[in-house]
Symmetry: C3
Subunit: 363 residues, 3 copies
């Protein structure tokens, strides 16, 4: 496929200069670009690469002198990362799924599929499932009974959507995701050792756990519009009410969302984040990769957690945290720098103790 | 489906009062209950919600005055969480898998299936596999050659059970689980940089690793009775002897159990826990979410590890731990509180050093 | 299958003694060995077990007096772990996949398969995919359009390989792996709260994130020769250029490799490691289980990271690190030991302050 510079500029809502009718087949780094490729040089530090590559057109930083750089055409952008969104949306090829239902798919006759759906090979769709218009579902996906999915879903291969899950429109789901697996909820007949340990902060734990009775999940999962879930992530079903993920929220790969969790709108949960049961997360929250959030915790709106934060208690709205346990980011950075100074500090105190007769010291 | 209050009370082994022949279709929070639903108000703080909902019957805390709450019937329970186990077991609908073998399944003629099994669409069962009576196996599951699974298994969609794995009765397996993948075991011809670094605690590492030779896994996996494994978890095969998981042990989602690991009975491993190769875990151990356990470590019976503990050395029986590295929970809580006080402490020591002539200080 | 002692010694490139024509069916621990099994007693501490088992032959430590141990034959080895590589390679049975293409597989007519390939049941192979000679592909695998895979691949069940991924020869892939899922890359029209928080180390974050625009992944994944990937791991596609994994590198289970990441040759990434977007990892790097690496970081050659290290900034070549944030291993070990001494240290400083009139103290 070919795209003119004019088309690309329109997709980016940016201004194009020069031979805007010139067309390219794709985009790449300046030094590697062929005559047929658009060079991506959104920062002056990449200008030098243009000379080594063969691009005739480029996306450049705001204010760049494109003619001096020897280009025939250019698009100037103010926020390079945001320009990448428009550019890649234009150029991305979706997965190749033929329209209609592949003959090897197993679709229950009571399931309803919207107009223009494309169901790949070996997909299984259960009784009474409802899938909206324009859905593309790749091979080996299983969609269980009574699932509802909105319009324009893109579900990659091997995804498992369990019974009664409800999902809004424009859903994107990477391969291997599980939605609606049973929650991890087990209870002992008497107070368990874990309950004791938590109540006493570890100082008392005398109970011996006997066998675990299973609390089954009746609650399924509800997901809003414009949600994306990354490869091999898992969102567990709620106990009585559904686990919920709000509109516009994005989950990366290998993320775990426990039963009864409520996640607000426009959040980002980076790879390998884990959120334990019944925790409530506000809107626009960003959790860095490998962040863990304990169960039954509240995280306010606009919280940002740096990578691998371990959140063990409530976080007020707007706070930026880091560390284990998570604390204010600058506090954790200061603490971790001070750790390296501890050996010297201890030596100093030892020396001071030798030099100073302490009041009342006798131990 | 409808359940009478009497039936529910019997399932909970609890006492019912009032119009026990009254029936409901499900259970929910008090304020949201319709006339047809049982309200869950096991704590006095939920009593107020009863007035806002329409429930005619409820499960209440021990000693509640159900008539004063305007109910027609009630069940009183002593331990609410435990009551949830009985209630949800009664009301849970299993996955919808038709009895018999779906025509799209690929079952080797040498495989043996017990009475009353239900094999879903596109399941693959290999040569000489033996599956017990009453098993329910959802779509897209692969069960390799020589696997043995006991009675009453429930295996959700997309599970992979590799060759020669042996599993006891009443197994529950959430979607996407892998059991018996090869262990991660690679070795260099000469002592590797990692071996040096471990032996010297990081102070010496001069070797350069050449290529890695693979140690293949001959040992498979053995799993006891009443075990559950959560979505997308992985249990690796042993090298020579099997990796083992004891009776009654439950694994949450995205858990990794390395090769040769031995896990005792009635343990709970919460989401994203990782246990490295050849580690031995006792009975009734609870590992909080994202806990990591190093290789070749022993964890005693009844240990409880708080969320995200990183266990780098042996833990004696009964200990409650937290932190990285994991230490006694109260010790880690104290340490992490003290980190924030370090800047002030360092200032104090600086001031003291200025005021005190130290013995023999000359650096 | 039976193996003679002579055959085994040849596979191990080690010397055999005694009745080398004697044959065994497998190998196990000394005390459990039957007459038909080879005892593994590569350390003198296992010698005692030989008396309790029935093995007639054993693999022993270098210099062992095999005759005094009552054996009929023995193989002596210098590096036991390395011997395990040869032994298990000889004895491992691969998965049982019939040669040819299973009739239930869905292979696009434009796909090309090398000689001697074995394609299991319910495999899907897309348009223009090219798979080398000798490949074994187990059930339920999906290989999308335009994928290229070299000779001698072993791909276990349920693996998802997305469009345009390129993989070298001798690839081993455990079940459930996803290669080429879309990268997690979202951007706001204006500077986001996360960007502010990172730039200010958490001290300033006033922006409110509006909705996230998606940066699509055009770049796919390139994997070298002799690479292995563990169960349920995920390797995301690059934005413009491919995400890359070098020759001889091995990934354990549940590992996440973000978009644009470049990993060198002969690295080991243990279970649950996460590497965030655009990070560059050198050659022969070993990352212990649950290690996290932030985005846009460089890790030099021969770095070793202990279990659960959280790498938040550049690591120079050759360094051995541990901790959160990752620091030199001995530094972190010292720091974590000192944490427990903090309460006492603080008491000491309090006492000193009482005893010493500080210069200029007035707060």
């Amino acid at each position: 496929m070919r795209f003119t510079i004019e088309q690309i500029a329109a997709a980016l809502k940016a201004e194009a200069f020069g031979a805007v009718e010139l067309s390219v087949t794709g985009a790449t780094e300046p030094a590697e670009a062929t005559e047929d490729q658009l060079a991506l040089a959104m920062d002056p530090k990449f200008a030098e690469g243009l000379g080594r590559g063969k691009a005739r057109a480029a996306i450049l930083w705001d204010g760049a002198d494109w003619q001096a750089l020897g280009l025939e055409a250019a698009i100037l952008v103010k926020r390079p990362r945001y320009a990448m969104a428009g550019l890649t949306r234009l150029m991305a090829e979706g997965p190749n799924i033929a329209p209609g239902i592949h003959p090897s798919a197993v679709v229950d006759p009571s399931a309803s599929l919207g107009e223009g759906t494309a169901i790949g090979p070996l997909v299984v769709i259960g009784a009474n499932a409802k899938i909206g218009a324009g859905a593309r579902i790749a091979s080996h996906v299983s969609i269980a009974e009574d699932v509802v999915i909105g319009d324009d879903a893109l579900i990659h291969s091997g995804v498992r959507i369990q019974a009664r899950v409800r999902i809004g429109s424009s859903f994107v789901c990477q391969p291997g995701v599980v939605i609606g697996g049973d929650g991890f909820s087990f209870v002992t007949p008497e107070t368990s050792r874990v309950e004791e340990a938590r109540a006493s902060l570890g100082t008392q734990a005398s109970a011996i756990n006997s066998g675990w009775a299973r609390i089954h999940s009746l609650g399924s999962v509800e997901i809003g519009d414009d949600v994306e879930i990354g490869s091999n992530s898992s969102v567990d079903a709620g106990t009585v009410k559904p686990t919920r993920i709000g509109n516009g929220t994005k989950l990366d790969s290998l993320v775990q969302v426990g039963h009864n969790v409520q996640i607000g709108e426009h959040c980002l949960l980076c790879a390998q984040v884990g959120v334990a049961g019944s925790t409530v997360i506000g809107n626009r929250v960003v959790l860095g990769g490998q962040t863990g959030v304990g169960d039954n915790i509240t995280i306010g709106d606009d919280v940002v957690a740096g990578g691998a934060s371990k959140i063990l208690s409530k976080v007020p709205a707007g706070r930026v945290v880091l560390g284990y346990p998570a604390m204010k980011m600058d506090q954790f950075i200061a603490a971790s720098q001070n750790w390296r100074r501890l050996p010297r500090l201890m030596e100093d105190v030892r020396a001071l103790k030798k030099s100073v007769p302490l009041d009342g010291e006798d131990d």
